[in-house]
Amino acid sequence: MFSDFMLGAKSRLLPASVPFRFFATALVFHIVAWATLLWSGDSVPGFIGGMGPALAALHMITLGTLAMTGMGAAYQLLPVATKRPLRSERLCQATHWLMTPGLVLLLWGFGYGPTWAMHAGGSLVVAALALFAFLIADNLRRVDDMPLVTGHAWLAVAFLLVVAAIGMLLIVDFGTGLLPNHAMAAAAHAVAGGYGFMGMLVMGFSYVLVPMFGLSQVPKQPYGRWSIWVSAAAVSLGVVGTLANSIPVMLLAGLVGLAAAGLHLTMMKLTMKTRMRKQLGGSFVLMRAGWVLLPVSILAGMVAATGVAPAIAVPLFGFLLVFGWLLTFLVGALQRIMPFLASMHSSKPGIRPALVSALTAEAPLKLHLYCHFAAIACIGVGIVVGQGWLVRGGAAAGLVGAVAFAVFAIDLWRRLHRHLNPIPQTASESP
């Protein structure tokens, strides 16, 4: 995958400011989301939709952290994986300028703010996502190899259009009552966004990231290709089933989704089996936990689809999908991607590239790992037993972890800056 870093040389690497601005914004929303959950934890058990801080916190993670990270990673990794440059660096930056203020307005609107803020914010976010989809599709259409990466990425683009369209309808519906069944449209939005857009991005880029970090080879097995088609069928059935409020179709979607997850996880297991690098550290603990939580979230979704105990099943499904699978996997990947990219940007004439370990502060990452798992466990249990204090306790742990992750990121930037701008030794200090 690094052929483009080197074929055409290091100049093909996007300036560090492009991916890192997305990552930095994602980490700010990560902190604010946990803080919002801490503040509004009592409203999470039994939450089945509607405006308020829980909805805002959910979108801080989905759009603020997951989509932001996905954009930054996609802009950096897709041209590398496909060996074709993106059309325009400025357009990549433009998505950030549209997305960030759009999100702030949208989230304000979700948290009982004025309707115009929701509409304006939603429009800006959709414009950013549309531009992102255009840039990715433009890159993908020039690629005929890398079928596992591009196949999943195409699906992500397709479901991005679906999730954006339903999302805008849901926003308009808050003021007008346009939709016949707001709750089921929201469920379709969750399936298309969680499994369709973000899920396909995560699964596709796993075929780049896992071999890269584990030094392994993607096995020549057909499961990966099958997982593209089976995932497409599962998410499509899920969206149609929820929109039509059809329990059999939703359950079928769940079963097909489990098959898709099984195929993907089999490929990941085989890829990990061939890895040359045995010690993979805390990031892979998070990524592996994410893999475990993927089928668990689908099972929770199937329970929610049956309509049994909706006050537990619906919020648990949303939590396991967004905070469990996607956030756990992405923060694991991000803590490897950031120092790796920083190291790639750390050499200049007369200065040797910085070691990844020299750029990485391990202590905050360890703290984040423990706090993240504590948060997932406490909030999951809090939702099941209907105890807001447990949710708030979990959110407090999540907040500490998110701050620790931000400390790691700031420290990384500081170490990179110090490495690139060493303090010259004075004559008296010279040996």
């Binding site: 995958m1 690094f2 052929s3 483009d4 870093f5 080197m6 074929l7 055409g8 040389a9 290091k10 100049s11 060996k83 071999p211 890269m212 030094l215 080879q217 993607v218 020549k220 040359m276 690098r277 045995k278 010690q279 190291s343 050499s347 040797r352 590239p353 070691l355 990844v356 370990s357």
Partner: protein, 169 residues
């Protein structure tokens, strides 16, 4: 990512062997810790150091030499000089480190480690492990793909034959 050429497959085999050696070294360093120098009279320690010296002296030098003298010039002829320059720059950082580790290990096999030589060996080894693995990561993902894209089967067979000859020698 996948070695699709004969030359790529040979380089990949080298990478696997080097990573195994480096991971053994890493395990040795972790078990030993920086505080206590190992006893080179211990047969297991001697074996580990001898194997390390062999890998670093023969394998790494031969591998880098083949790439710099044969592979990178060929890629440059095919219009791609950036990759060679980039990796050569990394070689110039890694090779002195590998030599330092090998020299210190060789000397320790004769004279044992004192605190200063053990600390030097430890620090250089830790840096070597990380730089070499990061380097292999790039070669596995970039160079092997580049060979597949830029080197035709006839030239690939010729290069592979040449490399096998170096291995025998």
């Amino acid at each position: 990512m996948t070695a699709q050429t004969q030359t790529g497959a040979l380089l990949h085999t080298d990478h696997v062997a080097t990573i195994q050696a480096l991971q053994s070294l890493e395990g040795f360093l972790i078990r030993q810790t920086k505080k206590s120098a190992p006893d080179v009279a211990d047969e297991a320690v001697r074996k580990a150091l001898q194997s390390l010296v062999t890998t670093l002296t023969n394998e790494v030098g031969r591998h880098f030499g083949f790439e710099e003298n044969h592979l990178f010039p060929l890629l440059a002829e095919r219009g791609e000089s950036g990759i060679g320059e980039f990796l050569k720059h990394e070689h110039s950082t890694i090779l002195p480190l590998a030599e330092e580790v090998a020299d210190t290990a060789r000397k320790a096999l004769d004279e044992g480690f004192d605190a200063a030589s053990w600390h030097r060996f430890y620090d250089a080894s830790v840096e070597l492990i990380e730089r070499e693995i990061f380097h292999i990561q790039k070669e596995e993902m970039g160079l092997l793909a580049a060979i597949g894209m830029l080197v035709d089967p006839a030239a690939d067979a010729e290069l592979a034959e040449l490399y096998r000859g170096l291995q025998v020698a």
